[in-house]
C-alpha cells in the first residue's frame, strides 16, 4: 500500500478557497479535538474550502452540504475514500460501495441491527457493562479509556460475532494498533493479521454456524443461491470490526468527560434512571454534541457543486460535529440542552449509508450510563491527566481519561 501524504494544491482550486487545515493535528494547549473544527467556523472560513494537507481534500461546513455529501452518491462516492489517500484500499462491504450495489450486504446486515434485534441484545449488553464496572467500582478511580471505553465495545463485537470472551485482549491489541499506530509497516502487518483472523473465524462459522452475525454473513446466499464472494465476506467482517470500536470508545469518552466536569448533568441522568423517554432524549443531545466522526467521500466526476469546481477523485471531508452545531438547524447550538426536543443531528450520518449500527451504538452508551450511575457515586476528573492524550482524524478522541469518586 502507498500513502500519499504530500501536500496537494491542484489548479482547479481558487486561492480564496484554499485554507491550510490539518485535521489530524491537534495544537498544543487544545484539550478538545473537536475545537479545531469549530475554530474554522469562528474564523469565518468559506463554508466549502480546500486544504492542501493530507493529500488535499475539500471540507464542507454547512449542515445542508454535509447532508448532500451523504445523500448524493452520484457525485460523492464512498468508494476508496481514505484521507490521506491509501491505494489500493479494501472495498469494505457495504460502506465502500455505492447504491444500488451496496444493497446486497446492506440487506444482509440490516435485520441484525434493527430496533427489534437490538432490543434482544439489551440483557447481554447490561450484563457486560455491569461486569466491567463492578471490576473497578470499589477502587474509587479508573482510567475510563482502558478500563471501560475500549473493553466494552470490543466485548460487544465478540458477542455479536459469537467469539469467546477470553479473546478480548487479543482483539483489543489488534484494534489499538489499527486505530493508533502511525507506523505504516506496523499498520500493514496489523491489517494482514486482522484479515487472517477473520478468514479463520468465517471458515469456522461456515462449518459450525451459531446464532451470530459472522455465521449469518458467511452462510448467506445471493439471489442465485451462491455464497457471497469470499473477499466481500472478509471485507464486511473488517468493516464491522473497525466501525463499531473506535467510534463507540470515543463517544463514551466524550460523554464521560462531559459528565465528570458537569455535576448537574450527572444529576439530570440520575433523576431520570426510571424515565426512559427523558433519559433517551438527553442521550440524543449528548450524541449531537459529541459527534466524534469525520466522514470521507470521493468525487465521482469533474463537476461543479454550488458553483465550486471539483475534480474526479477529489476527497471531501464531512465533519458531523460542525453540522450538529449549525445555527440554521439547531436553536442555541452551542448550548447542551438535555431536554432538547427537536434534534436532527447527523452523528450517524444520513442517506443510504446511515451507520447501520447506530441503534446498537446508542444503546451501548445508554446501557453503560445506566449501569454506571447505579454503581458509581458522583465522579470527577482526576488531577493527574496525562498530557497529549487527545487525537484528531476521522475519529477524534482521547487516549486517557482518569476519573475518581469517593468510596
Amino acid at each position: 500500500m502507498t500513502l500519499h501524504f504530500q501536500p496537494s494544491s491542484p489548479d482547479h482550486v481558487p486561492a480564496e478557497l484554499m485554507i491550510d487545515f490539518d485535521m489530524f493535528h491537534i495544537p498544543d494547549g487544545v484539550n478538545d479535538p473537536v475545537e479545531i473544527w469549530h475554530d474554522l467556523v469562528r474564523r469565518g472560513v468559506p463554508k466549502i474550502f480546500y486544504t492542501p494537507r493530507n493529500g488535499g481534500h475539500w471540507v464542507f461546513l454547512n449542515y445542508d452540504d454535509i447532508v448532500e455529501g451523504y445523500r448524493n452518491h452520484a457525485i460523492f462516492s464512498t468508494y476508496q475514500t481514505p484521507v490521506p489517500p491509501i491505494e489500493p484500499f479494501p472495498v469494505v462491504q457495504p460502506q465502500g460501495v455505492d447504491p444500488p450495489a451496496h444493497n446486497v450486504f446492506r440487506r444482509l446486515l440490516a435485520p441484525m441491527f434493527t430496533p427489534i434485534a437490538v432490543r434482544g441484545m439489551v440483557g447481554e449488553l447490561e450484563r457486560r457493562a455491569a461486569t466491567l464496572i463492578d471490576g473497578f467500582a470499589a477502587q474509587g478511580q479508573c482510567d475510563f479509556i482502558t478500563d471501560f471505553a475500549e473493553r466494552y465495545p470490543t466485548g460487544t463485537f465478540l458477542y455479536l460475532f459469537g467469539l469467546p470472551e477470553d479473546r478480548l485482549d487479543e482483539f483489543l491489541a489488534l484494534a489499538n494498533t489499527f486505530f493508533r499506530s502511525t507506523d505504516p509497516a506496523a499498520r500493514a502487518q496489523n491489517i494482514t493479521e486482522i484479515y487472517a483472523l477473520l478468514d479463520t473465524l468465517f471458515r469456522q462459522k461456515e462449518r459450525e454456524p451459531g446464532n451470530d452475525i459472522a455465521s449469518a454473513i458467511v452462510n448467506a446466499r445471493d439471489d442465485a443461491g451462491n455464497q457471497h464472494p469470499w473477499e466481500d465476506i472478509l471485507n464486511c467482517g473488517f468493516l464491522l470490526f473497525v466501525a463499531g470500536l473506535d467510534t463507540v470508545t470515543n463517544t463514551l469518552a466524550y460523554v464521560w468527560r462531559y459528565l465528570a466536569t458537569t455535576p448537574a448533568a450527572q444529576q439530570h441522568f440520575r433523576e431520570r434512571l426510571d424515565d426512559p423517554d427523558a433519559f433517551l432524549r438527553a442521550i440524543e443531545e449528548l450524541m449531537r454534541i459529541n459527534a466524534v466522526s469525520n466522514l470521507f467521500r470521493r468525487v465521482t466526476h469533474d463537476c461543479e457543486y454550488k458553483g465550486v469546481a471539483m475534480r474526479r477523485n477529489d476527497r471531501v471531508v464531512l465533519p458531523n460535529t460542525v453540522a450538529n452545531r449549525d445555527p440554521r438547524v439547531f436553536r442555541d447550538p452551542q448550548v447542551i440542552d438535555l431536554d432538547r426536543e427537536v434534534n436532527v443531528h447527523l452523528t450517524f450520518g444520513v442517506g443510504p449509508h446511515r451507520c447501520i449500527g447506530s441503534l446498537l451504538a446508542k444503546r451501548e452508551v445508554m446501557v453503560s450510563l445506566q449501569q454506571w450511575l447505579r454503581r458509581i457515586p458522583a465522579f470527577e476528573l482526576a488531577d493527574d491527566q496525562p498530557a497529549g492524550s487527545v487525537f484528531g482524524g476521522s475519529v477524534m478522541g482521547f487516549t486517557a481519561l482518569r476519573l475518581r469518586w469517593d468510596v
Binding site: A110, P111, T114, E284, R354
Partner: protein, 71 residues
C-alpha cells in the same frame, strides 16, 4: 391528524419509534418505519408531530385526517 411515511426515504434511524411508539414502529427485516395508526388520536398529536420533526431523512409528514393525502 394523519401521518404519512415515505419508506423510500426512510433509512431506519428509528427516531420516530423512540419518540412515539404508539404511532410508529419498525419492521424486523429492514428496520424501516411502519405506521401503527395513521389517524393519530388527539391525545398523541403532539408526540407524533415531534417524531415527524425529528426524522433526519424528512421521511415523515403530517396531513389532515380523512383527506386521503397519501400521495
Amino acid at each position: 391528524m394523519r401521518v404519512i411515511a415515505n419508506r423510500d426515504l426512510c433509512q431506519g434511524h428509528a427516531r420516530c419509534e423512540d419518540l412515539c411508539h404508539e404511532v410508529f414502529a419498525t419492521d424486523a427485516i429492514e428496520g424501516k418505519v411502519v405506521i401503527v395508526q395513521a389517524d393519530v388520536p388527539t391525545a398523541l398529536e403532539d408526540k407524533a408531530r415531534l417524531a415527524v420533526r425529528n426524522c433526519p431523512e424528512g421521511a415523515l409528514r403530517v396531513g389532515r385526517s380523512g383527506k386521503g393525502d397519501d400521495a
